[in-house]
Symmetry: C2
């Protein structure tokens, strides 16, 4: 598994370091985690890492297309390693949990806006907002009262 990660980095022209391998593994084992959570995960596996290294590495991974950054409203950035397929996200307003959903329209026609205003559209990011099964059944936590609550 480390073999794979190492090759992956090299294939994308990146130097292989313990930190990068660990971050790559963390993104894969904990999809939708924040930079902070990933840092914790990494510390669990290689002992320690600086915040800066985490941000730097994540930035590089996103830039090289090895990871994807999602930034839902009111939440710090989250990262996932599912790239290349056209999937979207479902976020619970109450507890902040995020799950993947496949694109309604299949491939990439999401990319078609009615009027593109002359823009060269590259990507359509879709976030579905709602309440997860757990929070739907927990009274008081789903009427917008705690709209800022998150997990």
């Amino acid at each position: 598994m480390n073999e794979d990660a190492e090759r992956l980095l090299r294939r994308h022209g990146l130097q292989v370091t313990a930190q990068r391998l660990a971050v790559l593994r963390a993104v894969s084992t904990r999809p939708h985690a924040t930079a902070d959570e990933l840092a914790d995960e990494v510390r669990g596996s290689i002992g320690s890492i600086s915040r800066q290294a985490v941000y730097d590495t994540l930035g590089t991974l996103v830039e090289r297309g090895l990871a994807r950054r999602i930034q839902p409203a009111g939440s710090p950035a989250r990262y996932e390693d599912r790239v290349g397929d056209n999937h979207h996200h479902l976020v619970c307003r109450a507890c902040g949990v995020m799950v993947d959903v496949d694109c309604v329209v299949g491939e990439a026609p999401c990319l078609t806006a009615e009027d593109d205003h002359g823009f060269a559209i590259e990507e359509a990011e879709v976030i579905y907002w709602g309440y997860c099964p757990g929070c739907r059944n927990r009274p008081g936590s789903r009427n917008g009262t705690d709209r800022n609550a998150r997990g």
Copy 2:
């Protein structure tokens, strides 16, 4: 015009204050502006306002459905007064400009995810990422090099 804003506030059970009127007007005249920009706009019209009052008022307006908050990746929250219709946004990766686009699918079938994972889905937020006409033609500013550029 102030008449309208005043009535609007009252109708939604809100006290009418100079600050609220001004914020409401600012949101309407400068769609997609950040809280800070709106504060400036308001200062231009009523002299001065505290940051807190701006955030507070915007929060209230959003809560009562008089305004909508959009938070694209890497950008502070933006506000607009176009509510109730199912429109989305088109954001330029290079200069950060944001324009409205109508929903591809018309009404609200955007709300249908293939598998809702048991969530009660309320809203689908769609952001199209790309490059605006100006930035498309400006070489060097559209190849992801300055992915963080905005403003």
